[in-house]
């Protein structure tokens, strides 16, 4: 997911009776489906977990600009170029909404950037894979955005008001993202043999990393249990992964593609697909910074930030000068 394996600081999930009155009142409001708003009392663990989750989500959006941005200048038609640019621009917008949501919890955007650039904060593993062909742009929209939507739709109901509202806006805007990806592939599979091969190759490379986006099974995870009690996570990783596979396999079939999983089989009894286990060793390597593109992605973000310092400072100083000039003018007039 865009926020993978978020830690909660919880040693165990407390029962209502174990809680101090303030915390109990807080938990009862969440249980009653009420939203928590900025500056209201909240347990420190809730605040910190949200900061981690929302900032990780935001980082994923802006790092996520890069693999797709890699093809904006090579998009095959003017229309595709415009669509892709608009989509990647949306991702910047979504990053912005999310950073703002996190800022209501008492952390600044600059601090979050600092955590990203120093490697302290994580972002989704998926964006450390390379985009090697135009079909990869289709595959990202179809699979990666498809997987992200699985997680983001329930987050619209999460307990923290600013996060939930940001998700509402994001989900509304994102509805075209998955479709544009599928549309790229649908067009290509009707094309030449070379184009069809490109699409199959993209699926072969993106299928497993997409399943890894949901993170390893968290059925036994204390963090996951705590996040669910706080209603900042609604479904288990396995639940969402199953839902994603069930939704995506028929779409792959429609495209005439083969899902690269020999264990994939319809299970009539559970009404869903059985499927193989992703290579979690690879997942943890990528998380640890050893994916093919980790260094480039972070390098690009750091460079954008460092190279832009003079620009941001220039505008700050201009605003101060202009404000001082206005003040002097007002004073002179009085």
């Amino acid at each position: 997911m865009y926020a993978q394996m978020v830690k909660t600081d919880a040693a165990r999930v407390k029962s209502l009776d174990d809680m101090a009155p303030e915390e109990r009142a807080f938990q009862e409001r969440i249980d009653a489906g009420q939203k928590i708003e900025p500056k209201e009392w909240m347990p420190e663990g809730y605040r910190k977990t949200l900061v981690r989750q929302i900032s990780q989500h935001a980082h994923s959006e802006i790092v996520g600009q890069l693999p797709e941005g890699n093809w904006i200048t090579r998009a095959p038609t003017l229309e595709r170029k415009a669509i892709l640019l608009a989509k990647v621009q949306d991702e910047a917008g979504h990053g912005l909404y999310l950073y703002c949501a996190a800022e209501t919890l008492g952390i600044s955007r600059d601090e979050m950037y600092e955590q990203l650039h120093s490697g302290k904060a994580k972002y989704s593993s998926i964006f450390n894979y390379p985009t090697l062909s135009w079909a990869d742009i289709g595959a990202i929209g179809w699979l990666v955005d498809g997987a992200a939507i699985m997680n983001q739709v329930p987050l619209q109901r999460c307990s923290y008001g600013p996060y939930a509202r940001a998700m509402v806006r994001i989900c509304k805007e994102e509805s075209f993202h998955q479709r544009q990806g599928f549309d790229i592939l649908a067009k290509m599979v009707k094309g030449t043999p070379a184009q069809r091969a490109m699409v199959q190759d993209a699926l072969d490379r993106w299928w497993w990393p997409s399943l890894m986006m949901f993170g390893p099974s968290d059925d036994a995870s204390i963090h996951s249990a705590q996040s669910m009690v706080w209603k900042i996570k609604q479904n288990s990783n396995d639940e969402l992964r199953q839902k994603f596979v069930d939704q995506t396999v028929p779409q792959a079939e429609y495209l005439g593609l083969t899902v690269p999983d020999p264990d994939l089989k319809w299970n009539e009894k559970k009404g869903g697909y059985d499927f193989g286990e992703p290579d979690w060793k690879e997942f943890f390597e990528v998380i640890a910074g050893n994916g093919l593109c980790n260094a480039e992605r972070l390098g690009a973000r750091r460079k954008a930030w460092d190279d832009g310092a003079w620009f941001r400072d220039g505008l700050t100083v201009h605003a101060e000068k202009a404000s001082a000039r206005r003040a002097a003018k007002t004073a002179a007039a009085e």
Binding site: L96, A166, T316
Partner: protein
């Protein structure tokens, strides 16, 4: 150097005749740029006809702990709502 641009709250009038609504926030060095940034960030899909921005630090908010005293008293003033009054059917619409 490198102090962060201040945070601004953005309010947009979606259509003529409606109130401005809070849509989100952004960073900008001053009010004029905040307006431009709001146009670029929050009206990409034709969402607005007018924009207000206000520095987040200039907003005075009611305190969450005052929620009871501030808002609960109005709960008991049910007579402010038209449904409080029974109007005989014969009277017609009122």
């Amino acid at each position: 150097m490198s102090s962060e641009w201040p945070l601004w709250e953005v309010f947009i009038r979606g259509q003529h005749g409606l109130n401005h609504r809070h849509v989100g926030s952004l960073h900008a060095p001053d009010a004029e740029m905040a307006i431009n940034n709001a146009r670029d960030v929050y009206t990409r899909r034709n969402e607005g006809v007018s924009i207000w921005v206000v520095r987040s630090s200039d907003i005075t908010a009611s305190s969450p702990s005052d929620k009871g005293p501030l808002f609960e008293p109005s709960n008991s003033k049910v007579y402010r709502h038209p449904t409080f009054f029974d109007i005989p059917d014969e009277v017609g619409h009122m």
